[in-house]
């Protein structure tokens, strides 16, 4: 589904990624762990199309197609979803309008007519129940005044509506209390299907108590230096990242 080869990237001339290789197949859950500043979030941002980062070498294919030349919206239409580490607040844009606009552009890309209003509301209700978000949250402006937990839950809710093929969750677990983490993890587990895939980017092993990854990678100084099974996460938790140096 996703094939990353020798990816190099920099921001303001400073090299951040120094040759990342990654293969993600349908149905897999990957976890990318690593210390602060190792390049995890940069990697996620580049996959989503953040123009701040400059790709200096390497290639990324998504479903066999070159990804790096596409705009962020085109990537979304093709089935890529990035859950932001810091979801932004958009005062004055209601969740309903935001999701309808997003969904209809996805539908247009796929040659479908805009979703009928009744069907849309039914879909919102269904996913709201599935993920466990308050009805009241849906009626507010996007993330406006939301708590940290609400914002992360809202990311998963948006993911449920858009049903991406590949989801990249950037530090979705950080800063969450126990209940919020459980709700977010339960939501993610419910959205898991054999034909989609997930990349979890996390600093801590905590989320992995709730979601079992197939493969764990360790990022260090801009490269994936080690890959293994779920037991690698436990080892990292125990020993920290220092032994990788």
């Amino acid at each position: 589904m996703l094939s990353v080869k020798n990816l190099h990237a920099s921001v303001n001339g400073k090299a951040i990624l120094k040759g990342v290789d990654l293969e993600v197949k349908k149905g897999e859950i990957h976890a990318i762990m690593g210390p602060n500043g190792s390049g995890k979030s940069t990697f996620a941002s580049i996959l989503a199309g953040n123009p701040v980062y400059e790709v200096t070498d390497g290639e990324v294919a998504f479903e066999g197609e070159e990804l790096l030349g596409l705009s962020p919206e085109e990537r979304s239409w093709k089935g890529l979803f990035l859950s932001f580490q810091y979801p932004v607040e958009i005062p004055g844009v209601s969740m309903v309008n935001f999701m309808r606009a997003a969904l209809n552009e996805h539908r247009q890309y796929n040659g479908q007519a805009p979703i009928p209003p009744g069907e849309f509301l039914a879909l919102m209700r269904e996913k709201q129940t599935l993920i466990g978000v308050d009805k009241e949250m849906i009626q507010r402006s996007v993330n406006d005044g939301f708590s940290g937990g609400e914002k992360k839950r809202n990311e998963i809710f948006q993911m449920a509506i858009l049903q991406p093929k590949l989801s990249i969750l950037d530090e979705t677990d950080s800063g969450l209390d126990i209940d919020a983490l459980r709700i977010v993890a339960a939501g993610l587990n419910k959205l898991k299907r054999p034909d989609n895939a997930t990349i979890l980017i996390t600093h801590y092993q905590r989320l992995l108590n709730y979601i079992r990854p197939d493969i764990v990678h360790v990022m260090y100084e801009g490269r994936l230096v080690r890959s293994g099974g779920p037991e690698l996460a436990l080892e990292l938790e125990e020993k920290g990242y220092d032994w990788l140096k």
Partner: protein, 435 residues
């Protein structure tokens, strides 16, 4: 200026013949004020960004009254621009016309032409007409008073009320270059209530038009007024307005000024809070692109204690448009317990648009709550990226953020039909922008 004084002297008799003697009474005095002061000087403190004299130096005559037949044709063509309001009145080139098909207002409320009003209510007319304009208006208002031939009056006597919105459409329909002199007089006596929306609409591109409009608004004790001024004009039009609002105790005025499409616009708003516990809410929205120019100047005078004013102006500028705002709040020496807030927020969407902002507070009382603030920003790239990452195309995302920025003003409009109507209009305006 010489052209204007000569024009006045040679046309004085014909102007006076067309008007009620009550309108003619202050002309000579206004003429002398104008001859002495002229137009406000460009570059003077309150006119840093709009050159009134130059804009008014077009040396053309003033529009004559259209025949009823011509007027009806324009009124019919204007219909359907907006959903039918409860009550509709028209000014065309500054002259009042009755729309025969409009529903009547509650008994006792007058809505119609300035001359008709002077004939019908001479005492009320004399008590209010030109009172504020003479006191505070200077050369610009004097110019208007010299030449005015007709205008519009809303008069709501004591304890009368109109729940439904009254709509006044001012059409400027010019086949050739000419000046429009227009006058509004809005009087709410003690305990009166009304909502009025004034649309300044100049749809024609055929000729250049310059409108000088003076509005005097009076809110008596415990009166409540919502006043919406909406401009939707063509690029070649110029609109200069001098607006005066006087409020007595416990009165409440909500004034919204929406410059949605224009050429060159300068609005002056001068609010006098003369009675305790009066409240004034002043909100402005400017949407400008191309080479449009909007300059709002506001003065709010807290003359007595316990009054509240709240002012919010939002400018949404793009392309080569230019916006200016200067707002002054004066709190008089004895006006204790004043609450006065002012905010000016700008969204500049493009490298070539400009905004100038000058907030001012002058406080001579010591027990008050006052604040002013100004922010100018561009479209937030992080927000745009977030929206695009959800599949909302950049163009649509920008449009949604513009609508959201304007929405804060639109959502505050009390009347639902007007709010929905303006929301649609603004969305449509923003959707077609930059196309």
């Amino acid at each position: 200026m010489k052209y204007d004084t000569d024009y006045f002297e040679s046309n004085r008799d014909s102007i006076c013949q067309q008007c009620s003697p009550l309108l003619n009474r202050p002309r000579q005095e206004a003429f002398e004020v104008f001859r002495k002061n002229g137009f406000p000087a460009y570059g003077s403190e309150d006119y840093q960004h709009t050159d009134i004299e130059n804009l008014l130096k077009i040396n053309v005559g003033i529009h004559q009254r259209l025949t009823q037949q011509q007027a009806v044709r324009y009124m019919l063509s204007d219909r359907g621009m907006h959903p039918e309001p409860f009550h509709q009145d028209y000014l065309i080139n500054g002259y009042a016309y009755k729309d025969a098909s409009s529903r009547p207002l509650p008994e006792g409320i007058f809505s119609g032409g300035l001359n008709d009003f002077a004939e019908k209510y001479p005492d009320v007319f004399s008590a209010y007409y030109n009172r504020q304009a003479k006191q505070h208006g200077g050369g610009l208002s004097a110019f208007n008073t010299m030449f005015v031939r007709d205008g519009y009056v809303l008069y709501v006597p004591e304890n009368k009320r109109s729940d439904a919105i009254i709509q006044l459409t001012h059409l400027v329909e010019a086949e050739e270059d000419a000046m429009v002199i227009s006058r509004l007089l809005i009087i709410l006596e003690k305990g009166a209530e009304a909502r009025i929306a004034v649309y300044d609409r100049c749809p024609a591109e055929k000729a250049k038009s310059v409108t000088v409009q003076v509005s005097e608004i009076y809110a008596g004790e415990n009166a409540s007024l919502e006043f919406y001024h909406v401009e939707e004009s063509a690029a070649r039009s110029t609109l200069i307005t001098d607006n005066f609002i006087r409020q007595e105790r416990y009165s409440n005025v909500k004034l919204n000024t929406l410059s949605l499409e224009n050429g060159i616009t300068r609005n002056n708003y001068r609010v006098g809070l003369d009675g305790e516990y009066a409240e004034h809410i002043l909100k402005g929205l400017v949407i400008a692109d191309k080479e449009q120019h909007v300059d709002n100047h506001t003065v709010i005078n807290h003359n007595v204690p316990h009054c509240h004013s709240d002012e919010l102006f939002k400018y949404l500028l793009s392309e080569k448009s230019m916006g200016a705002f200067s707002g002054k709040i004066n709190v008089a020496e004895d006006a204790q317990k004043t609450m006065a807030y002012q905010n000016h927020r700008n969204l500049l969407d493009g490298p070539d648009c400009r905004v100038f902002s000058k907030p001012q507070l002058e406080i001579y009382a010591d027990d008050v709550k006052c604040s002013h603030g100004m922010t100018t920003g561009q479209m937030d790239e992080t927000v745009l990226l977030y929206m695009r990452a959800r599949g909302i195309s950049e163009k649509e995302a920008r449009m949604m953020l513009r609508v959201a920025f304007a929405g804060e003003i639109i959502e505050g409009i009390g009347d639902e039909s007007l709010r929905e109507n303006l929301r649609r209009w603004v969305e449509n305006r923003l959707r077609t922008q930059n196309d």
